[in-house]
Assembly symmetry: C2
Homo-oligomer: 395 residues x 2
């Protein structure tokens, strides 16, 4: 196992603890195959069985307390100054360690808004309260959501390289798919071509396999996180594919579009082209706003306003999400201030963030147009990580 990125993230975390003025960050987990904490990939990169605590302090201490049988693995990470093991229960070592360090604030992995910062289960939170009951520490727990958003959102150079590689592979598979498309193929046929090509490379999917790719053939196909079905693509229709591979632990997330020319057609019909242009104008309006310091929801609002001004209905999702170890990589969100998004749209765009930019409109009788590109926020603005599909591909 290669723990290089874990060690990079541990270094980054120590710096962020200082920046945010937090004394201690604790990732507290057990049986992580069943209840994985998304932060575990950042601080450990392996699974744990019994109750385990990964403790980082602002002063640079890095202590892991784990069950006896996990001790060897955790030592192999190489990033912890101290690995403590136990047999019957973690509480004594945990209490002793925290008491020795005497933190004023202990950041825990919970968040109402950011799923990637919400790995602490309610039962484990209750366990922690019980372990520190009657002590001053029981009142010093705070949410680690800002810390985690910074740590997860600011992709290191290695992380950026991995995401770029996953995007390259995804683009290659989509290009190859394009060469084999013809009318009469069902959504399932098309999905199976991508699955076969991906499996041949030994790669996973960026999200749940049954819905990766999503394939929408023509106007009758249900849009959403829906499994491909038996609908056949026909001439005069749009084909929409949403797909990404997971490669070396990192994901891509792209949407690509084909139009199947009807007899005697040389280009897509006017209403398709008009919708396409409006989608791109909206996506570019968002991209224009995407730079360090921008407030996330304002980036979304720029794209949304562009699309509605062009006479199309607004998309019922966020303009963009972080992309990394998973397709929806938590942290902030380029989305509207809707209830379900909590405080994520209030986040500030930072250098090193990798976002999707995605939106779409339905074209009656033709199908769904969906655009999605992946971009990196740099000090000066934005770098397209995917090769933007500026023209509808024709079949």
């Amino acid at each position: 196992m290669d723990f290089k990125i874990v060690n990079e993230k541990l270094d980054q975390a120590t710096a962020i603890l200082g920046e945010l003025n937090i004394d201690m960050w604790m990732t507290y987990v057990r049986e992580t195959v069943l209840t994985p904490d998304p932060c575990l990939d950042l601080v450990a990169g392996l699974d744990l069985t019994w109750h385990s605590a990964f403790i980082l302090t602002r002063s640079g201490e890095r202590i892991a307390i784990v069950g006896r049988f996990d001790g060897e693995n955790v030592r192999a990470i190489g990033g912890y100054t101290k690995v403590i093991t136990y047999d019957q229960g973690i509480r004594a070592s945990l209490f002793e360690t925290v008491s020795r360090l005497g933190p004023q604030t202990i950041a825990l992995n919970y968040s109402m808004s950011d799923p990637a910062a919400d790995g602490l289960t309610y039962g484990m939170q209750q366990n922690l309260l019980a372990a520190f009951e009657g002590t001053a520490y029981a009142k010093r727990f705070v949410s680690a959501e800002k810390l985690i958003a910074a740590l997860r959102g600011r992709k290191s150079k290695s992380e950026q390289a991995h995401v770029k590689a996953a995007i390259r592979t995804t683009e290659k598979l989509l290009d190859e798919l394009g060469e084999t498309l013809k009318p009469g193929l069902t959504e399932l046929h098309i999905a199976e071509k991508l699955h076969a090509a991906r499996r041949a490379l030994g790669l996973g999917t960026a999200w749940g396999e049954p819905y990766c790719p999503i394939v929408n053939a023509g106007p009758e196909s249900a849009v959403g996180h829906v499994a491909p079905g038996t609908i056949k693509i026909a001439r005069g229709q749009l084909l929409h594919v949403d797909f990404g591979v997971k490669q070396d632990g990192f994901c891509a997330d792209l949407q690509r579009m084909w139009y199947f020319l009807a007899k005697d057609e040389k280009r897509p019909p006017a209403e398709v082209q008009r919708a396409w242009d409006a989608c791109w104008a909206a996506l570019d309006a968002g991209a224009e706003k995407l730079k360090p310091g921008a407030v996330c929801w304002e980036v979304d609002a720029a794209a949304r306003a562009s699309l509605t001004k062009a006479g199309y209905p607004e998309f019922q999702h966020a303009l963009g999400h972080h992309l990394g170890r998973v397709a929806h990589d938590g942290a902030s969100l380029l989305g509207p201030r809707w209830e379900k998004y909590g405080t994520a749209p209030l986040g500030i765009v930072e250098p090193g963030n990798i976002f999707t930019l995605e939106l779409g409109v339905a074209v009656p009788e033709r199908g769904f147009i969906g655009l999605e590109e992946d971009v990196l926020v740099t000090e000066s603005g934005l770098e397209w990580l995917s090769k933007p599909q500026r023209k509808i591909w024709l079949v």
Copy 2:
């Protein structure tokens, strides 16, 4: 996708709600690729993106409230009487649905002891409290741990068949491995043989791939959830393998032992045989107690007492865990009443439970002896699902 087992479990859940006198059970999740609730496999069998609630009542209502883009998938399950979708936030529909049903108790997925019943994150629990703040319902939340332990622990016939099939496959791979063993192979070589055979069948591992199989060659190998290393197996030593495949969503978990005969040896040395016999006597002492109505920790205690009475140190883990969709399948535990196990050892054994039975001892200069078999609890006692390895295999 096949939702047959999900529908079986939904029927079973309705019956258990009546049995336990609980009005409503709610599984409340979001972004389940990042933060999966183990109960999701029981009530839905698919991933969800936005906040989603799966609500079952004692009176037989089954309501799913999910984001717009997940609606189609959830309807396809076929087990819900009503699928409600929303765009901006779940709270209004959630509150309306709960108010209409008027439950006195609302069981949620949290547990201090059972990870498989602890899928509700702390952030999501806070979200629920906020949604029901100031209403009577905010005080009606209870832990669903008993319900979940019953539902997860009582394997349906289909679930039993799947586990049995995974065990058959695992046994076949271990048998085939045995035919290729020879002195000088490293733990990594041996692990790679099993990985290759498993991958050729298109199967996953029962637990984290780097540690499945665990391979311990001789006395220098670290015992635990440790990745195989560069230690070579030599004559006069024990080889220990802990392995299971995941097949059609269900797992096996077996340990198998080989002794590498030294020159002129015809059988294992006396100290190896004595330890082997003591391990089996202990395992059988546990198996003897394992029947419906038994208290879990007493089953463990019988095995533990047998082993220590024979002069060996007690094993530093539980005698057995449930086995199903994951290797450590939650619910109750055939384990000692140690802090880390919480109330799991207080559980009652029920028909339909599938357990591992496992224990071991280290033999100085020879290696580690570990036994592990998989058994089904029947109305009358116990059925061995694996073919018990009653004799050390010789190389």
